[in-house]
Amino acid sequence: MGNKDVIYGINGPVVTVKNTRSFSMMEMVYVGHSRLVGEVIGITEDFTTIQVYEETTGLKPLEPIIGMGSPMTVTLGPGIINNIFDGIQRPLKAIEEKSGDFIARGSSVDSLDETKTWDVTITVEVGQELSPGTCYAECPETSIVKHRCMIPPNLSGTVEKIAENGQHKVNDTIIVLKDKKGIEHKLSLFQKWPIRIPRPVKKRLPASIPLITGQRVIDTLFPLAKGGAAAVPGGFGTGKTMTQHQLAKWCDADIIVYVGCGERGNEMSQVLSEFSELIDPKSNKPMTERTVLIANTSNMPVAAREASIYTGITLAEYYRDMGYHVAIMADSTSRWAEALREISGRLEEMPAEEGFPAYLPSRLSEFYERAGLTENINNTKGSVTIIGAVSPQGADFSEPVTQNTKRFTRCFWALDKSLAYERHYSAINWVTSYSEYFTDLDPWFIENLGEEFIRYRKEIIAILHEENKLMEIVKLIGSDVLPDDQKLIIETARVIRVGFLQQNAFHADDTFVPLKKQKLMMKVILHLYKRTKQLVTAAIPIARISEKGLFDKLTKMKYDVPNNKLELFDNYINEIDKVFDSIVASH
């Protein structure tokens, strides 16, 4: 430590130090006089390589480099929710106060506001034995999130001293803990955790509860489990970000971590303004009260983009340990993979597929494996669900990031360009997408919605697949020449596509649809299908039925039936029966 380490070489975000032994792998360092944040990513006898999380313009050789002695960490404590951070957990609002509308380099700001006081209730007593993960203090972080301060996972011992209940800052000592060796540890409201190491859990539980999103195509056809991982691949303009926004707004997780990784600045400002206006239907509080945003836009330094994903997932794990269900949206993991590629290129590593480093798959699997429904070390139950957007180059799903992501996620919501061109949103293609959670989640659906929900879903999927096959013929010869039973499939599939799968995010009722309504919609559509099928088999021409306008009527029922008046669906069933009885009578 005695001899000063100085910069030797600079190449973009990569800085090298010559002849030093003072750094360890993944250690966090301050680079140069302006104290830019960096991380050690390579060590040889001659050179230590550092990636810098900020622009390196203006750096000079011989400027000092100071090691922090610890790996890249985040600060975990109250004040995370309802905040917006950059990729290395610096609050952007504090940076704005400090350096104005443009982000200056070397802005050192505290991750959590150290001046703010929190209304702390201490939940342990002097003399109590505490194991790792035990909650020792609570405070309301926002109006809907109760923050629980937990003993760090690597610590246990006896409580020596406790502070008074009441107003405390994050740095105040709340309890003093004496471990087995007799060393006293002062615990405040926050703890630090290295971002690249998963926080430990007691055990992982099999997925059994769905993440309810209110999006019909997802909840019904391709459900995601709490603690699961989903990939949303799609070319530009297919609605990845819209899908992510919809999920962040409406899914039934307790906490949302939204990572804008290398995406557009205007999108982040849209999330900021929209989420503060939107009211969460469950709690009647603004959406921001349960959301934390990590914004590393595409023009912010590339190395911090690589870190932002890890920062996000570590925050998510921390809240999971408190017993919350957390959903993390990563938009987009391709940008993160490209950041890996860029750094790897600067290190002159041997590239594998398309210039991506050979360790891309292992990094992706490490990330997605941090999702899970878990029993935590303090015996609470929580989950981290990952929804990762993938932006394949040239919308070609065979590229390495999409292919490798597919291996490690069990839900695949493929966004389709031609659907997006028709402005059919969500543009999730029902033929190429899949969910492997059906068998895990079916017991839940049967218990909560009845066995018929599963049956309806199967029938809907069958009709859509049948239509897909027929469409190949239709493309060649037109639909007019098809026999009536096949015309019926095409007509019903149209109703399903337009009336059910297509969902309007800007319509007050249609933007979030409760599962019960989804089920009833399927019921009505299938009822019409079955009644028509009976008549078609009795050789009554389908044109006589479609002229009644029932098919068109069903395509609009998503708008016509408000979410709180589900009894109106009975009218549809009755009307269908009436019309059909009259057709049969007149025949």
Binding site: T57, F102, I103, G237, Q393, E422
Partner: protein
Amino acid sequence: MIIDYIGVKEISGSLIVIDDVEGASFEEVVEIRLENGETRQGRIVQIEGKRIVVQVFEGTRGIALNNTRTRLKGHSMEMPLSPEILGRVFDGAGRPMDGLGDIFPQKRLDINGTPINPVSREYPRNYINTGISSIDVLTTLIRGQKLPIFSGSGMKHNELAVQIARQAKISGNKKDKFAIVFAAMGVKNDVAEYFKKSFEDAGVLGRVVMFLNLSNDPVIERILTPRCALTTAEYLAFELGMHILVIMTDMTSYAEALREFSSSKGEIPGRKGYPGYLYSDLASLYERAGMIKGKSGSVTQIPILTMPNDDITHPVPDLTGYITEGQIVLGRDLEGSGIYPPVSILPSLSRLMKDGIGTGYTREDHGALANQLFASYAKVMDARSLASVIGEEELSPSAKRIIEFGKAFESKFINQGANEDRTIIQSLDLGWQLLSYLPREELDRVDDSVLDKYYREQKNKNNEEKC
């Protein structure tokens, strides 16, 4: 103390390597003097101890190992700025080339800029009326947006850009100051002349700042051109409170310059030989569009790029599409059938449109109408491909109506004169007029209440056509 370093160690492509340099900083500007008195500019792109690698903007022709004197300038690339730059013409590296002398700067700004803090950004909502139906109704341009034109060689992208620049009226305060920053990268001299003349004809030349790196200018300088232009735009917008429209053409040439530089530096290439950081690099340009809370100005970008071989999956359009907020795609089939502007509707998109249209901005039916036009036009494509197999005569009556709608949509709605300036209301009404070709049941993207108000089915359209 100013030190001249004599001679260079190595020359490769546009790069020179100099040894034993003290106190160089990353991205610092250097001045290189040749024996014949010529000076060139360069930028430090890599430092290894006392060895520096310098990128020479004007190229290394004539440089030998021992005939140069290099001097460090002590700062990174800067652009001198003052309100007087309006109406001036600069070369690709930001030096005046109109013979009107140097700029007396009020301010010098680093051309690389710094990222706008996402929390300081104002979410763009005010639409720009371009007077072009296909853009106003279907891919609405919003103040502070970056909306590129994806084109191909030989298509009318320049005409479209000029028409937008000429007709762009920003809704809201009419007294807002408006100016254009034009950056040409690797375009032909006549194209630059065309833009210049068009601005002159429109009487706006005094409000235009031009940066010209033409196709015979040094390639590496092209990397600076958009940065100089955007620094100027940011200065005019955020310091002087003006609304700036930045037109950058042609981004493909820019990316090629970047590729050339990258390969001479010996970097590992990504797709099609472009460097792995092409996305980050393009983002550092495009993300400089936007609005800032509490400031009245805005930067709106219309980059133009020609897709090599009309391939939208080529890395340059592909990565651009991932960064920008939508795209206007020009189609060769429309161009071929004489339609101007040849905007290919289906792949075109404006991401910011949804929040800048409708009640209070344009008209309440705008969103639904646009959706319906998209959906119906998508059906036209299906019907046409069916017709090409079985013949138009064999189509069902409803498919025939769709084809008819498609023809009218292209010839009346998309097609308009290069000087024709339609108001948004005219364009919307035209859209409804065309939808009337289709039966009401087929309009499944529109609420009944909107249909009641605007939709009038044509009962006797054959008679009407005769009239």
